[in-house]
Amino acid sequence: MKVLVPVKRVVDYNVKVRVKADNSGVELANVKMSMNPFDEIAVEEAVRLKEAGTATEVVVVSIGPKQAQETIRTGLAMGGDRGILVEYDAETEPLAVAKLLKAIAAEENPDLVVLGKQAIDDDCSQTGQMLAQLLGWSQGTFASKVTPGDGTVDVTREIDGGLETIQLKMPAVVTADLRLNEPRYASLPNIMKAKKKEIAMKTPADYGVDMTPRLSTERVEEPPERQAGVMVESVSDLVAALKEKGAL
């Protein structure tokens, strides 16, 4: 079984993001970048499938600038076998990424595509769903447990009411939720091994995908500052205050 894991290079989760002075976006100069945490969970799951003997090959894919190679290397140091980078410098949108991944899936023929449920930069949560639709494959989103069977995969999903387990026919697309696993650290010996693994360099043109954005960003602003609250003495005071604010 072959597993394809798309990963995105995003602002590191420890960084406090700042809006650019001209309100055109967030400041990326001199900001630490790393793999989207949900994608790390996806890599971990794929590597565990390989360690369990279920998966035979784990291919890590990224679409982004040249530096996204480092993100792929992290995936390879965690246990991925080889990488594909589709080099593209401008901002990516889920639809274009899904189209590229569809083209890559057509070449690679994976049994499973595992990716993060969303990226922590734009929080879209669309790529996995769009990819499944474009491929015409089954999808199991927000997975907290993945159990492959014979030509099928059981996916436990986190839904509003609790957990739901569905069985998908493979090939399938699975998006990873936070509780699927705890990703490993790229160990030092594996960082050295990853250096020798192959990363194929591609461009969107190689796949005939038009990356032109369908959306335009008007302005990016800080969230409004939170107003100070007031302490109330009793429930009736609270009700009165809520009525006064028009909340009740």
Partner: protein
């Protein structure tokens, strides 16, 4: 916000000032590149933030305790160290055949810095183990390396250094622990060892104590000290861990800081003697120990730097976000308060911390880079020159950061005011942790004696001259660079004065008045420290000035200009401190010597 170190600064120090990438031209590091260095540092930072930092305050509040049988500590320490070992940090700088990744010492030290900055007391366990392992890899025999060193590199055994005794610490010539031969290359040890960090715990399968003791025929003093491996449990010929050896924990010391690290009084041979094996030749133990000690001293300086650095970053972030008071020109009491970073005296405290921690980081990483060069250089003469330079820099790299980065912690508390004095904020703990560093691995008083009494004078002052030649070379490179002129000029003057003072104190000692010369060894260490750190700032300023000339990348301008501003501050406010020490040294003051004991 970076919490442990400014990663931009770390990259600046490693790649722009020290050109760490050039290390890959040595065959041993040929498989490496900036990509692997950065990937390793990323893993270290992440592990430090995820597994080390979160329990630093808890380990301080709930220090290990001894129930008479075993030591109990919070489980997070063991979990962090398991992750540290699993990621491969224990053996990182070792060859791939030993399970390592042949990482340069410079990069390994940068990683160690991140762990110490996150949580010094948990990091102490691997710090000691790596130091003990380095010693065994050089001086242990093949059997000892396979039975003890290999399990240490795998993180199964931890290590300690047992030098001090209750009655003898700085004066190791007076130790009393005895080792009696029992045949078959084994010895029975009896004696008490004090201040043993990591001396007992349940974190590893066993603990490998490296113990200084005297053989029955030993000459008196430091020439009669041998080094022994004494494990907490017997380790058989196949390397299997067996029953307890006769090593008993007499008690834990209750310390001001570093409270997550057990610190022990150990009794060797309460019953029939603790079984140990000799390392190397008899009576040479101290020189083996010092082989390790020099690197450990630079490591102490780096650790002190990182505790200062963590406090600096915390107080900087606080100053940017804490609104209080108004600028002098804001007369309207209804106007909104400003962040305290806008107040002049807060800026001074932040700048002072910046020049201390970034200057100390430059020096300690510079020493690590010299250690790499020393170990990889084939040419005997070049190697000897590097050894000389490291010899004279080591007491400075240990003492200066442990004095001034501790002072940085004091200033971080001050920036936070009353909040800084409470245990709700980490800066008071950083101060308490860092307060160890002027004391251990040779007190700073010992470092002063080592620098003035030995390193600066030995071989006709060869090491001192080598250091001055290095400083002169940087001064020459700075000759035509207008942006660094204030520091260049101030440092040139100070360096000349330091050279005259060194010659003068040398004459004083040679003339028989050793006491007066050595009475001022601490001001000497201080003056030389500021000279060397001034040199480190000039090196940084030169790189920053060149980067600004070349046109920096977007977002880098403020960083480089910050380096130049810090260099100007060092010239204006720190060099005069060294001048004050110089004036003391020139006066040959003996008032502390001359006062009668009864006069205190």
């Amino acid at each position: 916000m970076d919490r442990i170190v400014n990663r931009r600064d770390l990259a600046f120090q490693l790649y722009e000032v020290l050109d760490a990438e050039a290390l890959t031209s040595y065959p041993r590091f040929a498989d490496h590149g900036r990509d692997t260095f950065d990937a390793v540092i990323d893993t270290a930072e992440r592990l430090a933030l995820d597994k080390f930092a979160p329990h630093a305050a808890k380990a301080d509040a709930e220090e290990p305790r001894f129930d008479g049988q075993r030591v109990h500590m919070i489980p997070e320490i063991g979990q962090a160290l398991d992750a540290y070992v699993a990621a491969g940090f224990m053996a990182a700088h070792r060859d791939e055949a030993d399970g390592g990744m042949a990482l340069p010492w410079t990069i390994a030290q940068a990683c160690a810095a991140l762990f110490t900055g996150a949580n010094a007391s948990t990091t102490a366990y691997p710090f000691l183990t790596i130091a003990a392992a380095n010693l065994l890899s050089v001086h242990g025999n093949r059997d000892q390396r396979s039975r003890y060193l290999q399990p240490m590199l795998e993180g199964r055994f931890f290590g300690t250094m047992c030098l001090s005794e209750p009655q003898a610490g700085s004066s190791l010539g007076d130790i009393r622990t005895r080792a009696e031969p029992m045949g078959a290359g084994r010895y029975r040890l009896k004696g008490a060892k004090m201040w043993i960090s990591g001396g007992d715990h349940e974190l590893s399968e066993t603990i490998v104590h490296l113990v200084l003791a005297r053989l029955p025929d030993a000459p008196p003093g430091v020439k009669g000290i041998s080094l022994f491996i004494v494990p907490k449990h017997h380790v058989d010929d196949a390397g299997q861990v067996g029953a307890r050896n006769d090593v008993a924990l007499a008690g834990l010391n209750h310390k001001m800081g570093y409270r997550g690290t057990t610190n022990c009084l150990l009794n060797f041979g309460e019953r029939d003697g603790a079984v140990g094996e000799l390392v190397g030749e008899p009576h040479k133990g101290l020189s083996y120990m010092f082989h390790m000690m020099n690197e450990a001293r630079v490591g102490v300086g780096l650790g002190a730097t990182m505790m200062g650095y963590a406090g600096y970053l915390y107080s900087l972030d606080y100053a940017r976000n804490r609104p209080q008071g108004r600028r002098p020109d804001q007369k309207d009491p209804a106007s909104p308060p400003v962040a305290i970073i806008e107040h002049a005296d807060v800026r001074r405290m932040l700048m002072q911390q910046k020049v201390y921690v970034e200057g100390a980081l430059a020096l300690t990483l510079h020493c690590a880079r010299l250690i790499d060069q020393r170990d990889q250089t084939e040419d005997a003469e070049a190697r000897a020159a590097l050894v000389r330079l490291l010899d004279i820099l080591t007491p400075i790299a240990k003492a200066w950061p442990s004095e001034y980065c501790l002072d940085a912690n004091r200033l971080a508390i001050q920036v936070l005011g009353g909040y800084g004095y409470t245990r709700d904020y980490p800066v008071e703990r950083l101060y308490r942790d860092n307060r160890l560093n002027p004391i251990h691995e040779g007190t700073n008083g010992i470092q002063g004696l080592d620098l003035l009494g030995r390193k600066a004078m030995i071989d006709g002052g060869a090491a001192f001259k080598a250091l001055m030649a290095e400083i002169e070379a940087t001064l020459a490179a700075a000759e035509a660079v207008h942006a660094v002129a204030p520091l260049r000029n101030a440092l040139a003057r100070l360096a000349r004065r330091a050279a005259l003072i060194t010659a003068d104190l040398g004459r004083l000692a040679a003339g028989g008045d050793v006491a007066t010369a050595l009475a001022n060894s601490t001001p000497y260490l201080d003056m030389m420290g500021h000279t060397v750190i001034g040199w480190m700032w000039l090196r940084q300023a030169l790189v920053a000035a060149a980067a600004l000339d070349a046109g920096p990348a977007a977002g880098d301008r403020a960083f480089y200009e910050g380096k130049l501003a810090a260099a100007r501050f060092f010239a204006a406010q720190e060099i005069p401190r060294a001048d004050a020490q110089a004036a003391i040294l020139e006066s040959h003051d003996r008032s502390a010597l001359d006062i009668d004991d009864a006069g205190f």
